[in-house]
């Protein structure tokens, strides 16, 4: 009977073929390491955040007179409200952690290179959507840090040329961050995750067109692909188990470690806390913002620091395939970049002193420097490696890719069934 129903559906909708082609039977390189689990984990955390968020929204009140109180109501009176709240707050940090590892994997293994540029750019878009969602969500508890963090960041839009002040007022709906701001942030915070869902869909369509890269960096032969189910379904579930253990340790045993103490104080527009600090996942970018003493310069630097990732497919000019696997200089650059991120995070966290400001400025220069140097270093490295001698598969692959590029230039793109 279930077979007959599925047959009926299949005549009207590509259910079975879709499941076979894109889910269970989807060809995946057999040598994917655990670094490839993080895309799935990101999707899982998205679902977790939406689920906890929807149930929290049943009790939350987006009104400056009631929001802080409604969250106390959730924490104290609502059945398991404390659990929903802690899951949602921890989930936000978990989301960024997973995404940062996911991005690091992509950078290290060169998965942003042709033909995966669109994957990288849709990912970039997803990162921006996530940052906006998190920023707006952080205002909702209406604590001291919520209010002042939102005040500082919305103030940055004053950097917009000519209409800066009006933009800030338009964004806030008021001269200061107030009730209008809170209500609209709640509305958009609820909306954006669904835009993220759609963008994830596009991200996955792109993935299924170009297929996953793999740790060796070389496109494997078809025989080295294995069906996604059951191999990677079980591997993803196992990775999920590990993730949930770490996540649960935070939720159940140290949930307040991620909540700034100042956010337990209701917002007071008349008094700024001694130390305004964004959530940890914004710290490096915040440090870059503060490194430039000029408002517009700081905003541009911060914006560029997020957007510059998008240029990676163009900056990296090496023809050595894959990422750090065959490229020792790229590998060192990558690790140095990570260290720089941590330094920037530290600078963003501590109250600024003359020493930390200088460290921050040097770290900012290193940050942008590593990107600007890539075009030159990658080419120099390629020449050095070719001289040193590469494994024959790599040289063969480089020659083949160059050949394919020439061939693509000659024949126009036409698909079976095209009318024009």
């Amino acid at each position: 009977m279930p077979g007959r129903i599925i047959e009926w559906i299949d005549q009207r909708f590509p259910l079975t073929s879709f499941v076979k082609h894109d889910l269970t039977g989807y060809p995946t390189p057999r040598n994917l390491s655990y670094w490839w689990n993080f895309g799935f984990l990101a999707g899982f955390v998205l679902v977790l955040q939406v689920a906890t968020g929807i149930f929290l929204a049943m009790h939350y009140k987006a009104d400056i007179a009631q929001s802080f109180d409604s969250i106390q109501h959730i924490m104290r009176d609502v059945n398991y409200g404390w659990l929903l709240r802690y899951m949602h707050a921890t989930g936000a940090s978990a989301f960024f952690f997973v995404i940062f590892v996911h991005m690091a994997r992509t950078l290290y293994y060169g998965s942003y290179r042709a033909p995966r540029e669109l994957m990288w750019w849709t990912g970039q878009g997803l990162l921006l959507l996530l940052m906006a969602t998190a920023f707006m969500g952080y205002l909702l508890p209406w604590g001291q840090m919520s209010f002042w963090g939102a005040t500082v960041i919305t103030n940055l839009f004053r950097a917009t040329p000519f209409i800066g002040d009006q933009v800030v007022i338009w964004l806030r709906g008021d001269y200061t961050v107030g009730d209008a701001t809170l209500t609209r942030f709640f509305s958009l915070h609820y909306l954006f995750p669904f835009i993220i869902f759609a963008a994830v869909g596009i991200h996955l369509v792109a993935l299924h067109t170009v297929k996953s890269s793999n740790p060796s960096g070389i496109n494997l032969a078809d025989k080295d692909n294995i069906p996604f189910h059951p191999y990677f379904t079980i591997k993803d579930l196992y990775g999920l188990g590990i993730f949930l253990i770490v996540y649960s340790v935070f939720v159940f045993f140290m949930p307040d470690s991620l909540i700034e103490p100042a956010n337990n104080i209701p917002a007071n527009p008349m008094q700024t806390p001694n130390h305004i600090v964004p959530e940890w996942y914004f710290l490096p970018f915040y440090a870059i913002l503060r490194s430039v003493p000029n408002l517009v310069g700081g905003v541009l630097a911060m914006g560029l620091s997020v957007m510059i990732f998008a240029f990676m497919p163009f900056l990296d000019r090496s023809r050595i395939p894959g990422g750090a696997h065959f490229r020792p200089i790229f590998k060192i650059q990558f690790y140095l970049f990570l260290v720089d991120m941590f330094i920037l995070g530290y600078v963003g966290y501590v109250p600024p002193t003359p020493q930390t400001i200088v460290i921050g400025q040097i770290a900012t220069l290193c940050y942008f420097g590593s990107f600007f140097l890539i075009p030159f270093v990658s080419k120099a490295e390629e020449r050095w490696l070719m001289q040193r001698g590469l494994p024959p598969e790599i040289t063969a692959l480089i020659e083949k890719e160059a050949h394919d590029k020439e061939a693509r230039k000659k024949t126009p793109l036409r698909r079976k069934g095209d009318i024009a």
Binding site: D69, I234, G241, P261, I265, L338, V339
Partner: protein, 217 residues
């Protein structure tokens, strides 16, 4: 090269996790707060005597104290003419407080979370009063405070007396810790079960993963 990278990683992670320690300046006296109902009730009693005249705990209701397990008679005496269903408000009105102190004493519902150092901070603060040169009481941790030395720390020289006051402070802070997070005990209990379950499930998933992958040559 590998081991160097590994050690570097570990050093960085260690650095990150010790950040909260570095970021704090004051050295606080550590307090071992109590988490059982009786001790918390004792803390409530001490707080109602020493603090309730000026401080509210508006996110807590008197009935919450009863449902937690405190003695109903005691709660009745604490609430005075405030309703049982109502929030725990300060005995002193806001305008009187403004007149006496220049500001309204802060609500204590979340005080154990709202300060860096949490319970340790509150404990050190309560015991941090000392007698200044002009005979007035000052506080080491928060010199600008308008709050008087309610436990009379600055007036004691006797070690036994100080120990008794320290005990009172510990009770009060234990109660305040419970007030700021009434579900902590339940959360931790549930946490043990969840982690245990996840360890079992993850082990099963690991075994299943190995079994499925062994099908590949």
């Amino acid at each position: 090269m590998r081991t160097l990278m590994n050690t570097l990683w570990k050093a960085v992670l260690l650095g990150c996790f010790s950040l909260p320690v570095w970021a704090n300046e004051a050295v606080l006296e550590k307090v071992a707060i109590e988490t059982d109902v009786k001790s918390i009730e004792r803390g409530a009693e001490a707080l109602m005597g020493a603090c309730h005249s000026c401080h509210s705990m508006k996110y807590l209701h008197y009935r919450d104290l009863v449902s937690y397990g405190m003695d109903k008679q005691k709660v009745e005496t604490w609430r005075g003419d405030q309703p049982l269903d109502g929030a725990i408000l300060a005995q002193m009105g806001e305008s009187d407080a403004m007149a006496s102190f220049g500001k309204v004493p802060p609500d204590l519902s979340l005080m154990a979370k709202a300060r860096d150092g949490g319970a340790n901070y509150l404990y050190s603060y309560l015991l941090g009063y000392y007698l200044k040169a002009d005979g007035m009481a000052g506080n080491h941790l928060y010199p600008e405070t308008k709050m008087p030395d309610v436990l009379n720390v600055s007036g004691t020289t006797d070690a036994a007396q100080h120990a008794e006051i320290a005990g009172q402070a510990r009770d009060i802070v234990s109660f305040l810790a419970w007030v700021s997070d009434p579900h902590e005990a339940e959360r931790i209990r549930l946490g043990y079960y969840v982690i245990a379950y996840l360890l079992v499930l993850t082990t099963l998933l690991y075994l299943l993963k190995n079994q499925i992958w062994s099908r590949l040559k």
